[in-house]
Symmetry: C2
Subunit: 135 residues, 2 copies
DNA sequence: TTCTTAAATATGAATGATTCTTATTTAATA
DNA sequence: TATTAAATAAGAATCATTCATATTTAAGAA
């Protein structure tokens, strides 16, 4: 998950707005949209600009601190976890959770060691696991 | 792949515009955007409305004739193949190809028969296979 | 500490894909 | 052939995102 140290290690300037975006990722669960992040931050910093947040998110993505998550309806959501992982989706509730499973990754890697896809060189495989959360 | 018979079997009206959208799916490869579909159709039917195409695509999706494909940059693309399948993506060229692999599906289903995900009931699993096309 | 400067931010206008509204037309059927 | 619900064309409206610009600021240098 994104944090201050990771931000510092990129060489980017540490600004109150960037700290606020990081805080938003820590506090907000479920892969927030840009608007949700702005809403969260405005509780404490009412003057943050929407454009600024979009800009910060873009920069953070470039620096591999966060990932964009495309959703069914088109609006972007953002994931504070950059490292390789999969997603659990519930279309009903719109909830998204990260799913990490090294054993599964191994299984799939092994599978594609034997069975090549013609005309395609695989670099990365992500699973979109659709279903329902039970709680 | 979508075709006239499938359209008829939904009970929807068969209109020239809908036939043209079906033709666009058959002719255009690589999961076209709404704009690309409009462009293709306008070669023969210059007066088709953009809103009409969006409306047809929405209806077709509801009736399970096509699928929406979300892309990295946000604009929707459409897939004339509805049946369960995976996608090969190349971020460089923006090309998307369908990938069908029953053996792989079996493997994954078996895996999740043993290893349940806590608090989640799986309904469907799709793979996003990122890499490069070689031709 | 103060200065310097490139980088970051706020603001609001612009864009572009998609949706909506409304009047008109048409496919299907009786 | 007449009827009618559904489909379409046209263009306005929306909404997320991007862009342009003037202002401010973080971080390193002096």
């Amino acid at each position: 998950m994104i944090n201050l140290d990771k931000l510092k290690s990129t060489g980017l300037k540490v600004t109150p707005q960037r700290l606020a975006v990081i805080e938003a990722f820590v506090e907000l669960k479920n892969h927030p949209t840009a608007e949700e992040i702005v809403g969260f931050i405005r509780q404490k910093h009412p003057n943050i600009g929407v454009g600024t947040v979009y800009h910060i998110l873009e920069i953070f993505e470039e620096k591999k601190l966060i990932k964009k998550v495309k959703t069914e309806n088109g609006t972007m959501r953002y994931d504070g976890l950059y490292e390789h992982h999969h997603h659990l989706y519930c279309e009903e509730s719109n909830r998204i959770e990260d799913y990490i499973d090294d054993e599964l990754d191994d299984l799939i890697i092994k599978y594609f060691k034997n069975k090549k896809i013609e005309n395609f060189k695989i670099e990365d495989i992500k699973l979109q696991i659709n279903g329902k959360f039970i709680d």
